[in-house]
Symmetry: D2
Subunit: 330 residues, 4 copies
């Protein structure tokens, strides 16, 4: 399988200049969806786009968006439900203490599931970024989790032909998010008990949660086997820096990609990078090129060799294996 | 329940001068078990002792240990199976790739379960500190986890009158331990499916794993309700510093203790501190006094008030509640 | 000195709903400066306000701002030069590779120094948040630092009656900021060699940089004694969460306040909190109340006792000292 | 200079099985110095050895050690003064509150300087690992730093033909070490004012201190230019894991090695790894092979190209530069 070609996608937001709490207006001029699609089409090897509801697509723009995507030969690989871009969700979406907000959140997800079908995409990202707490004695852990389970279940019941991909993240924008690790996401999925609910593993989120991403893949595979989607990027471990792939970690990424193959993951490799100060087209291109390079290094080693080295448990052999894959051509 | 009196225990190792990789001989002279028990008896309020097998008790010393404990009016509150003090376990105990080592590890635990019964203690700590990996392409995630599940099950089957308390820890001595978070421990317990297997929550381990300890208590309670034991200490978040209680975190500890009550935890509050450079009797005493002080602060607020503040989700009220508990007497 | 009354200030931005990269429009409605001043005047004990140039005050609004402040009985305790709110500064201000940008940055600071004098404030904050790098092989360490030294010197020369307060921060918005620790700031000041250049110590920045804030105070005192200003807040150590004072750390904060007294700091205690989801008036009030409470705890102990305990180097005595200050009234 | 051959050294302790606070007896059998030298001689490319006083060499063994080294064709590249292996130093060496301990520490260093000359080595490592504090209100920052300055000065005065290499480290064995960053070390050196006092930069220590190692090299170069020695290893950023080179970081290490060349560093590349569970000969060999591979990648790019890319400040070019160096031979 290491030889199979990968499918690359990216969040279209990569092409909107990023903002932060200091530079609210963003590190560059805003762009229309069409401009962003034009940029996306310049990224060699890119086939899929992730869109955020409300930001990039709504009920009344879906037809136009579809047409625009076709024009550029791109497909939607993931729809991301907006449960985090507005003050409305500030104190939570599924875990909001306000019943009205929870209902609205569920409604948003259902709408996005329908939009997905219209756009030919069967995967909807549920990132509950606003569901968590910041201070001691603020989270109502039992009640809040009840609400997350219940809302997720309602969404899952809306239609079984769309997969809900729960994207866990340790923190940000809350200091503590509820759905924050692979293992906790699996406990949530256990409670929800719906076949169309699975995991979106963002490799940067896994690193920040101090998981080894490869191990997280194996854990998800073991517990139901529903790894629905992956996000690629890199960071310095303390924060979700959303940097270009290849920026920091090499052995870790190689092992992660190897395990994706081992569990038979054949979905998109979706970029989730924030090139605040970089040319977005080049940043996405670099990330894809690094993924291809990593893939080549793995192929050069070969699956049998990798399995044998892992089975030995000898770290000096692991080190040598990676090093020789690099120096093979030197 | 906040009014109920707490039971305090400590690992007897607190009274042995600690060593580390630099000062191998330890930061003070070694002590006999009897000397340590003598010190333990000087700690006001201390009722229970945790013993590590091989280090503090073995089959041929159990009778003497029992006598010594009685002499000092102490009981054993936890027995810790030695799966980590010898080179034999260096590459893993339950997850060792060597079948002989795994069998020996299971044998060790079974032996300790029997010792526990002899010593009147129905709780055995399973800390799989050596089971993990250090480098990329070293862990054999699927096989290693299989072995952990299988070995744990064999131990649980040995006798149902002893509770196995799985103590999770993010890292150290391995850079990555397998059983490393509350959620992952619960997934393990789900697989093992034995009633006498539960969780030992070390508050410092929870902090290092970037859990909020109070939330971890609620999560464990929700998933089977088997919080069997807790360890108390404090740290600076990056590492398991095993400092005295009260050293760093106040609101976090208060919330943790509140949730222990909420879920009905009525076991020991076991100190797991490493007073490398401190007088051990005073370090243990301080920790217990801090726990009592925290308890008093909670009582001063009252459970109804706490529940109401949590339900409000208003962090300024949480802040004020804690602050006023402190200033009430000023 | 512990008995002396503290002066409290806050950044006026505390009263503007915060935004982040996800919720760009902010977690609440925008407010006019007048509305924010009105809110500030509701915070008991607040005497000073910090203003950010361009955001809160400009050359053509300075007269009006002055009038508004007088109306509410508030004074300006710090002016913050805008070197970070616009895309213009995205790749650096003083360390920009673009000479034009550097000149503009220096010009901005000089302007703010003049505004300060007009507003009766002799302190200008230089936070070089955008000056740093994100990736390997991106920073031009020697040249960039040259530029920071040179630009700072030019600003210092502009007028000696205004103090430049260099606010260090480990990271954010860059993954690596150049002026990132107390020690490195002191090396910068050594190079600049101007009496009106000193340090702004943000306690949260110190924590994220893994400094012990009290020690940073002593270090600054030792190296020139130019601790010009302090910022107060709290966080969970990995990120500049800008939480309310009292949220996480108690002993650390007590020690920090003690050392501020020891070195004779008599300036403002300026809040730098981001109450994204809290009522801002209550959040600021809580922070001030916590600072007052901490001060009372220190007074209760007394300076002589503190000195004696520190001199002993005995951590069990440190622990007991803090604990007994809390329980004294119980 | 990138073409110049590197000199490789290692601490001889690499060949002693490591221990930790759990496995006190070590993860393998103890070895004599001769056995360790025999192992060292099996590491291809290794030319120098670092010895720790008391552990590996003493006044009465120096003649024998010298002979043994010659037998194996190895030279001493660094002598490490033992200020951390015994309980005696537990509460500090240079910063001890006990005058007798401080004098003994200075005496130890002077003795080691003399031993160095006898062994033909002009570099002595001063790692003040025990000098720091663990708890709030424990460090006596002003007095303790005075003592560090004074003791360092006394050692420097002992003989000017030996270089004192101050090795900074954020923490461990103390939760806070005093000499903990490149910048703070430079402030210390400024105070000491002796030409034979400089910096030992351990790349892992720099990473844990959240420095970018390459930037630390430039900073040291700027402030006196006394980078006397470097230690090589790798880690996961939170702790000084002392792993094999190449284990985690590739771009970071490349940039670090590039800057070592830029500032003209021509000393040893000394391994400071702890292969607790690995074959030590292979672990050292792997680390050296990785360093050679990194060097080749840099050569392949060429210094002019690197300078140009850095000057551009364009991270996508930095990424591409590294990536293409890897794929050049594919």
């Amino acid at each position: 399988m290491i030889e199979k070609e990968l499918k690359f996608g990216t969040c279209v937001g990569v092409f909107t200049p990023g903002s932060d709490r200091y530079c609210r207006s963003g590190y560059g001029p805003p762009r229309t969806l069409d401009e962003m699609l034009e940029m996306a089409s310049q990224v060699e090897g890119l086939g899929g786009l992730e869109l955020v509801s409300n930001w990039h697509v709504k009920e009344d723009t879906v037809a136009q968006v579809k047409k625009d995507l076709e024009k550029h030969g791109l497909e939607v690989c993931l729809l991301i439900a907006d449960l985090w871009t507005r003050a409305r969700w500030g104190k939570g979406s599924f875990a909001s203490r306000d019943k009205g907000v929870r209902e609205e959140a569920v409604q948003e997800v259902k709408k996005v599931m329908d939009l997905g079908v219209e756009l030919g995409c069967d995967k909807v990202d549920l990132w509950l970024g606003q569901d968590g707490f910041d201070y001691s004695f603020q989270g109502d852990y039992s009640r809040d989790w009840d609400n997350i389970v219940e809302c997720t279940r309602q969404c899952a019941d809306h239609r079984s032909d769309v997969k809900l991909c729960i994207e866990y993240k340790l923190k940000e924008p809350r200091t503590h998010c509820y759905v924050n690790s692979a293992a906790k996401t699996l406990l949530l999925i256990n409670e929800v008990q719906k076949d169309n609910v699975g995991v979106l593993l963002d490799v940067g989120h896994a690193i920040v949660a101090q998981e080894n991403p490869a191990e997280a893949v194996a854990l998800i595979n073991r517990n139901g086997g529903r790894l629905f989607y992956v996000h690629l990027n890199d960071n310095y471990r303390y924060w979700d820096d959303d940097m270009m792939v290849g920026a920091v970690h090499l052995p870790l990424m190689l092992e992660f990609m190897y395990w994706l193959d081992e569990v038979g993951y054949d979905g998109y490799y979706g970029l989730d990078i924030f090139p605040y100060r970089e040319d977005a087209v080049r940043a996405a291109t670099e990330s894809i090129e690094w993924l291809k390079t990593m893939r080549k290094l793995l192929s050069r080693i070969g699956r049998d060799k990798i399995r044998e080295v892992i089975a030995s448990g000898d770290a000096t052999r692991s080190s040598r294996m990676i090093r020789e894959a690099i120096t093979a051509g030197m």
